[in-house]
């Protein structure tokens, strides 16, 4: 029995569409909860005033949150020198653009696909090594393709001995949280 129509053309289109859809599923959804809620929520950490006993004090930022933190914004007042230290094995860009006023969207930051980008307020930051950046006043850590980098943030503040300064930070996290669910931010002194 012969068929009167050649379906090769339509099968090609169908197969191509099916293949593209399968590729999309693999990339976009496998093991990835597609959170319909793209709103981001921020929680301000209470400011604290610390009387430094040494020129350099080390700090650690963490957040207890059911959804990943996407970025942190840290500000020190007065504008003292800050050193951000990336985790071992993570490189940060050798430069950082001055941070725009306030926290803006990712479009205003440079995001590396395999590193965190640290934007610091003017003057531009300088790099002392592959994973250390120095800036002044404030920094925004945008974790981009590595949200785990925002889980535990380490940085130091350099000032005069006994100089008082205020540290404040807030985090932006992904997704919608159930009502009443809070994000617990912690800013603790730590060691180098």
């Amino acid at each position: 029995m012969t068929r009167l129509r050649d379906h090769t053309g339509s099968r090609r289109w169908g197969a191509a569409l099916a293949a593209i859809f399968c590729g999309y599923l693999t990339l976009a959804t496998s093991e990835i909860p597609m959170d319909p809620c793209f709103e981001e929520q921020s929680t301000a950490l209470q400011s604290l005033t610390h009387e430094a006993e040494s020129e350099t004090t080390w700090w650690r930022l963490t957040a207890v949150t059911p959804t990943p933190v996407l970025r942190w914004h840290v500000q020190v007042s007065p504008a003292l020198s800050i050193t951000y230290v990336a985790p071992d094995g993570v490189d940060v860009p050798a430069f950082a653009e001055p941070s725009p006023a306030g926290l803006d969207t990712e479009a205003s930051a440079t995001v590396g696909f395999d590193s965190a980008t640290v934007d610091t307020a003017a003057p531009p930051a300088s790099a002392t090594s592959d994973h250390v950046l120095i800036g002044v006043g404030s920094f925004t850590l945008v974790c981009g393709g590595h949200p785990s980098l925002c889980d535990d943030v380490k940085f130091s503040v350099h000032g005069q001995v006994a100089e008082e300064f205020t540290l404040s930070a807030f985090a932006v996290r992904r997704g919608c949280a159930p009502e009443g669910e809070l994000m617990d931010l912690r800013l603790e002194p730590t060691q180098p």
């Binding site: 990339l27 597609m34 995001v111 949200p147």
Partner: protein, 169 residues
């Protein structure tokens, strides 16, 4: 004047099999609706089943198509070789799936690989003004090993397509 059926084999055609189409639909629905609005142990497994049906077959279709184009005489005409390739691809993916669900180390590698992929996609999308920032999550769960037999469905579809193709010739 009647025409004979001259349909030639088509890349990716196994994906048009009802089993594959249904699996894709289930996969999409589960990830976009089920896991979001009614998460449960079932939704955690359904996607794995659908993925194991479709993904190895998709990967094989890609490799098979490339090999058939590159080596039409040596590869395309050799159905035994193509079938073996299907088995190897499916076995490799199934093995990786098993490893990421029993080993924390391999699971972490898997998560890091996807994180890098998503990071690139996020960056490229941002460059053209888009925004999409999926987060790579993976939970090592030995219970997922129960879904491994689903990969056999993909093998069945692939073999059926190969046999239909050889019958056409």
């Amino acid at each position: 004047m009647s025409r004979e059926d001259v349909s030639a084999p088509v890349w990716g055609e196994p994906l048009l099999h009802p089993v594959c189409l249904f699996s894709m639909a289930v996969w999409w629905f589960n990830d976009h609706v089920g896991k979001v609005y009614a998460p449960s142990a079932l939704t955690g497994k359904v996607s794995d089943v659908a993925c194991l049906v479709v993904f190895p077959l998709w990967a094989w279709c890609l490799l098979d198509g490339l090999a058939s184009s590159s080596f039409p005489r040596k590869y395309r005409a050799n159905h035994a070789l193509r079938e073996r390739c299907l088995y190897v691809v499916t076995a490799a993916i199934a093995l990786w799936f098993a490893l990421i669900n029993v080993s924390e180390v391999v699971g972490a590698i898997h998560r890091d690989l996807w994180t890098s992929v998503y990071g690139v996609m996020h960056f490229r999308l941002w460059q053209i003004g888009g925004y999409w920032n999926p987060v790579a999550h993976h939970t090592v769960d030995a219970g997922d090993l129960w879904t491994l037999p689903a990969a056999l469905l993909g093998v069945w579809v692939g073999r059926a397509w190969l046999m239909a193709g050889s019958n056409r010739q």
